[in-house]
Symmetry: C2
Subunit: 223 residues, 2 copies
DNA sequence: TAAATAGTGTCTATCAGACAATATCGT
DNA sequence: ACGATATTGTCTGATAGACACTATTTA
């Protein structure tokens, strides 16, 4: 028998994806007290017998509850204090993950928890201090893209330059109405010498227009 | 009697200052097992009865052990796992603080712990995984200055533009030998419209040269 | 006057935003 | 041909690095 956990240590995940033309985040409905029935970020309490690290705790939460495996999980910030959880002194490490929607069957597969996609800028009330956690993760994501990092893991395996740009615009938005428009020329110029992604020679996205070159994430890319 | 802590939760602080012409960090010698006698970042185990938050734990550590109070304490990253501390599953939140040397009497005052200033890029072996913690804090500090944030809290109350520049160069260095030289003109131009600090009218630093205007941190400045 | 450092000005390469021009598809 | 979007090119203003020049002190 392992000793009782005190303080309460857990890992929570802000899992972002693109859907309905905007940035969305995965929420899970709490199945037990406290705050049963409230929506919250998916997460799990540390199990020292199973988890070598809190990142492992986060991965286990996604795997067990959502049958989901994410490539990159990044620590965002730690939230702690005596009053944030009614059970007492608690600490939660917030992680951030990005997934292309076509790799997320979570909503369909999950029988353990009720889950839904929420607009990343309009998600309503959440359990505990999770609204604050989510806002911090959302903001961290926006700041990274502002610093010219590319959220390529929000895109499908193959993608066009215009698709990257649209995704960046969605991440940069601060609300639903906001209309962030990046300049096409400037945006493409930035990647003339970058190596985050590479062209898939001979493959194009077709449509009622000139075909668009398809790209894929370069080996070694993180974030 | 409070329940026994499990996992072991603590807060550690990387306290930077300028001394001996380089960026230094404050180390404390461990006074008890495990790793007694090893040098480590100052820190303390969470005491739920005293600490409302882990930042409070960090402040308490500085206050109790070093008779020190810092204005700004910033969370850097959380380190955790089953093997980083011989006592078992542990978690430590790393904080970063900046202090002008003339406000640090720690080395003289402290009778609780033996402390010393170490070169921030050459600090030798440390207890537990503290060498890694320190490297992460050091790197985070460098990145912030690279992004044009000013580590004004490393400077004395009043300072000259050249002093800011020297401090930035020290922070940007990656090692002792490295010779980062910022351009004076470009450096000053950056702050023509900035509001991080303001001139102290009529006050100058004198020497064997043209007197230099003194500045002080503007109200509301963080970091 | 010389040495030292403060403070300012100039030139240029680079880059981002704005926007125009051209290319290549489906219909 | 036309509409739509991809891709490329041009112009311009802002900015950073390099470096030179002037200013003001002590010795």
């Amino acid at each position: 028998m392992t000793p009782k956990l005190f303080p309460l240590v857990s890992a929570d995940v802000a899992l972002f994806s693109i859907g309905d033309g905007c940035l969305q985040v995965l929420l899970a409905q709490r199945g037990r007290e406290p705050q049963k029935g409230f929506w919250a970020l998916p997460g799990s309490v540390l199990n020292p017998d199973l988890d070598h690290s809190l990142e492992a705790t986060a991965r286990r939460a996604l795997r067990e509850k959502l049958s989901l495996d994410v490539p990159h999980l990044e620590q965002v910030k730690t939230f702690d204090g005596a009053t944030r959880d009614p059970r007492g002194w608690s600490l939660s490490v917030l992680y951030c993950a990005l997934l292309p929607r076509d790799q997320v069957q979570a909503v369909a597969v999950s029988r353990v928890e009720k889950v839904r996609w929420a607009d990343a800028d309009d998600f309503g009330d959440l359990a505990f201090d999770h609204a604050q956690l989510l806002q911090v993760a959302r903001c961290a994501l926006r700041e990274r893209v502002k610093r010219h990092a590319l959220p390529l893991h929000l895109l499908p395996h193959k993608f066009t330059l215009t698709q990257i740009q649209r995704v960046c615009e969605m991440v940069l938005r601060t609300g639903r109405q906001d209309d962030v428009q990046l300049d096409k020329g400037a945006f493409r110029r930035r990647f003339a010498h970058a190596s985050d992604f590479v062209a898939v020679e001979g493959e194009f996205e077709t449509g009622a227009q000139r075909p668009a070159q398809l790209y894929r994430i370069a080996a070694g890319f993180r974030f």
